[in-house]
Symmetry: C2
């Protein structure tokens, strides 16, 4: 499993998790140690005219699974979400974005640790922002890389 373009990553995500295709979630940029996602507002609003909390959860949750994507040793290692806290800072009334950056060497060391010991844990703190770069949500996710 290896992706080199944002389009490939979006297709992979949609095939892996149909709910994310229904959300219209899009991988905008991806590289080892870096990913940027977009969640469209269209189709993901609520009766108050703001983005549904679950759409904000979806875009905040995914980077922890995508960042190590090209380091998973052909599926020998899988990323698992253990726990996520999301704080809703202000209502989102349009598309939102999240960018996650982790040192590639840190990710490689985690993948190696998972291969050798069976698991490796990491924590990801992210901000979801709107078009004006206002923070609409903040998340803290705890992920594990696990040897299959």
């Amino acid at each position: 499993m290896s992706v080199s373009t944002a389009e490939q990553a979006t297709a992979l995500v949609h095939a892996a998790v149909p709910a994310l295709e229904r959300f219209g979630l899009e991988v905008v940029e991806i590289d080892t140690g870096r990913v940027r996602l977009r969640m469209p507002f269209a189709g993901n609003g609520n009766h108050m005219g703001t983005m549904y909390a679950g759409a904000l959860f979806a875009v905040a949750e995914l980077p922890g699974g995508l960042l190590p994507l090209n380091l998973l040793q052909g599926g020998a290692v899988v990323p698992i979400l253990k726990e996520l806290t999301i704080r809703f800072v202000r209502p989102a009334r349009g598309d939102v974005w999240v960018e996650a950056v982790v040192d590639p060497d840190t990710l490689r060391a985690l993948a190696q640790q998972a291969v050798e010991t069976g698991r490796a844990e990491f924590v990801l703190d992210l901000q979801v922002i709107d078009q004006e770069a206002h923070v609409v949500a903040e998340s803290t996710g705890t992920y594990q890389l696990r040897r299959r």
Copy 2:
């Protein structure tokens, strides 16, 4: 806004949040101070054959908005999710359920407080269970009732 049957509540939820209709989320039972929801596995899996984390978030998040539904004074008070932590305890491989119970008098006092002071906060600890009553996820949500 008032609902008296689970079918009415399901229709209301689907109309308010299209993403929840796409998940197929169903209100199974509802009464003042009590709600039980079902999230189907069909359409909500991932590449590992387990339920997508976002579907578990969705079913854990909704009770905080539904419980006070018949106490919202015709829309004068709205429920808002401030923060939610979800812990993934074990993979879900089939439909899951969540049941939330809060003393109706407590909810009425919160709604009254929101009308008088502008807002009232409450915390909801829930468990998401599978068909064998195994806990698959645990959540802690902080909600506000706000005067519009």
